[in-house]
């Protein structure tokens, strides 16, 4: 893809190629609603290496999409504000950059695939225009060259007859094809980090699998870092390298995917795993997590999960907010009893 790399746009000033690809440290986001400040993301930490896939899992409202928008710098502000932390791309803290630098980072270095491609694509422009726009704005390509690029991209993401489809409008594509267009748009400038925000939620099950396969193939080919945001642990099992489980604006468990599936160290993760339907357990009733996700404007005291937790110690968990505890090597969980849960004793 060397021919797409422009001279200046591809190297972020001050970046260190030996630094980790993307590090998020103590990221905090608040929303101003009717004069009140409501925390949506409360100190999120994670790191992503080149060629790896990190799955961010959580229920709706847990702050996972807000985290991704804060990383991209496309949070609607107001009402959303990043109130603290760092987002380092190859060692450069993006939150400290001016708007113009952040703008060139978007698309060039970090790109995002949204959930609902029908509303995420502009209905009045052809997909070719919307794809070509990236080359015209970031690379100064002409109309003809941009369209040629758009055809190549559509071809790469497996859209048949790309030459003719390039002039079509979003509503003329099927759901799966539209999501492929969305992915093509994210790949256009060959970014190092790709964020996929629930890329398959709006799709049929069979199409979901195709899209996941496409994402994985692309990541392998281009050696990108991929952040896969989902509410469905089942989807990520055979794609992700690491998992970060989010609850109430925090990452409550972070570890290698095999560790998490084999030995979860947080009661919430454990409950999520039990809620996945399994072929080898036919006849067993699926478990549900009791209660509702917490309201960010009125979080429970202590551990935010304690009202729904089966392993909670009523006194300790209700009063004391748990720190990150290491249940095993590289396996962190935000629970007072992480070790016990890990050993399946609680």
């Amino acid at each position: 893809m060397a021919e797409t790399t422009g001279p200046a746009a591809d190297v972020l000033p001050g970046s260190d190629m030996n630094a980790p690809l993307l590090e998020v440290e103590d990221l905090r986001v608040e929303f101003a609603v009717r004069g009140r400040r409501i925390p949506a993301v409360r100190g999120v930490n994670f790191a992503l290496e080149q060629g790896k896939t990190l799955a961010v899992v959580g229920e709706s409202g847990s702050g996972k999409s807000v985290t991704s928008q804060a990383i991209m710098g496309i949070l609607d502000s107001p009402p959303g504000f990043v109130t603290g932390g760092e987002v380092r791309l190859r060692g450069v803290d993006l939150l400290q950059q001016d708007e113009e630098t952040r703008r060139t980072v978007r698309g060039n270095h970090i790109a995002i695939v949204f959930q609902d491609a029908l509303s995420a694509l502009n209905p009045v422009w052809s997909v070719g225009f919307q794809l070509g726009e990236l080359y015209r704005v970031h690379r100064g390509a002409g109309r003809r060259a941009a369209e040629q690029k758009a055809i190549e991209l559509l071809d790469q993401v497996g859209i048949p007859d790309a030459k003719n489809r390039v002039g079509h409008y979003p509503h003329q594509f099927s759901g799966g094809m539209r999501q492929r267009v969305m992915i093509a748009m994210a790949l256009a400038l060959d970014p190092e980090v790709l964020i996929a925000d629930e890329p398959t939620t709006a799709l049929d099950v069979t199409v979901q699998a195709q899209i996941m396969r496409l994402l994985r193939r692309i990541q392998d080919e281009r050696n990108m870092g991929l952040i896969l945001i989902t509410h469905d642990l089942g989807v990520v099992a055979d794609v992700a390298d690491d998992v970060a489980v989010m609850y109430a604006g925090q990452i409550v468990e972070r570890a290698n995917i095999h560790d998490v599936f084999a030995r979860p160290a947080h009661p919430y993760t454990k409950a999520l795993l039990r809620a996945i339907p399994r072929v080898d357990a036919v006849g067993r009733e699926l478990e549900v997590i009791p209660g509702l996700p917490p309201n960010p404007a009125a979080l429970p005291s202590g551990c935010p999960f304690h009202p729904r937790c089966r392993a909670a110690d009523p006194e300790r968990c209700g009063d004391e907010e748990p720190p990150d505890r290491q249940a095993a090597e590289g396996h962190l969980a935000r629970c007072h009893f992480a070790e016990e849960v890990y050993r399946d004793e609680r």
Binding site: D76, R106, D116, S119, N122, V124, L134, V137, H138, M185
Partner: protein, 336 residues
């Protein structure tokens, strides 16, 4: 697309036909109920000689017996009227006996020129104010824009005009003539009445004033559609693509807002036509509006009917153009 255009055209023709019939039927009803307008020719109360009356009746196409039966649709005279219109014969004026068709060729271009200025004013003001208000949503500017446009729209256009003619026009003209001279552009533009020697210059101010008709409605529409687009997912996508704010505004917000705005302009056009009646009447612009204005004062029913027919044709055409533009602007519309 071709079939859609043809279908819309046929629909427009049907509407025009029914409208013409409605106008005709109302005229017939008025003759049947109120009595013969030919009597007006003789100046009201006097009873004219029956032979002369019959002649006049023939002249104005009122000799059919259907005009004596209340409720009769008078289809015969209707067909006759349509044939006359098709042949370009719109009758003559009672006052001065001039050919109405000839008058129309003078009047229609004048009104069109008035509308060029009013449409430009309306669209520019509404776009600028609506965009501004949308950006400052909920703030002081948003409320001020809303209040100001409602206020401007609340003042009937003929009152703005009267206030202008009686209060502002003369001092402004005198001031401008002292500086630039009477024959200059500035010396003419503020005149309180139309001057046929300066057909473009002296129509600007009335055009701008007619352009305030529907300002609140259109500004509101611009604001709402921009807000909808500003908060949309595709604008978020555009931001994520690293586009500059200016490009996002033009390519992704304004372009998408054009769809409701085109409809809005078409819709306010009909109201602007009403505004033109008093505007042209007060400013003395020899256009369609003044024709209707004078026809009302001189009780020339035929002129009113012709004026309304032209109005109807214009509104039908504008609606047609808006529908076709809509199809061009929004690729999601299907033509079948």
């Amino acid at each position: 697309m071709g079939r859609y255009v043809i279908r819309r055209l046929l629909q427009a023709l049907l509407t025009l036909f029914i409208t013409l019939f409605l106008l005709h039927y109302l005229t017939a009803l008025s003759v049947q109920i109120r009595g013969n307008p030919a009597l007006l020719f003789f100046g009201g109360e006097r009873t004219p000689d029956p032979a002369m009356l019959a002649q006049i009746e023939r002249l104005y196409g009122l000799d059919n017996t259907c005009f004596d039966r209340p409720g009769d649709p008078c289809l015969g005279p209707f067909v006759e009227r349509l044939q006359n219109y098709a042949a370009g014969d719109f009758g003559t004026t009672l006052n001065g006996n001039r050919d109405v068709g000839e008058l129309l060729t003078i009047y229609i271009p004048n009104t069109l020129r008035l509308f060029i200025f009013s449409t430009i004013t309306l669209v520019t003001l509404a776009m600028v104010l609506g965009t501004w208000a949308a950006r400052r949503r909920g703030g002081l500017i948003d409320h001020s824009v809303r209040g100001a446009t409602i206020l401007i729209d609340s003042v009937p256009v003929f009152l703005i005009l009267l206030a202008y003619v009686y209060i502002l026009a003369v001092p402004l003209t005198n001031w401008a003539r002292d500086i630039w001279g009477a024959e200059s552009f500035m010396g003419q533009v503020f005149r309180p009445n139309y001057n046929p020697d300066y057909p473009w210059t002296t129509i600007i101010i009335p055009g701008i004033i007619v352009g305030t008709v529907g300002l609140a409605t259109l500004t509101r529409l611009v604001r709402a559609s921009q807000l909808e687009n500003l908060g949309s997912d595709f604008v978020r996508t555009a931001k994520a693509k690293g586009l500059k704010t200016g490009r996002i505004t033009v390519v992704h917000v304004v372009r998408n807002s054009m769809i409701p705005i085109v409809t809005g302009v078409g819709y306010t056009f009909a109201f602007a036509l009403s505004g033109a009646v008093l505007t042209e009447g007060i400013m003395g612009i020899p256009g369609m509006g003044r024709m209707i204005f004078q026809a009302v004062q001189r009780q020339e029913t035929n002129l009113i009917i012709v004026g309304l027919t032209v109005t109807a044709v214009v509104v039908i055409l504008v609606t047609l153009v808006v529908d076709l533009l809509y199809a061009v602007l929004d690729p999601r519309i299907r033509y079948d």
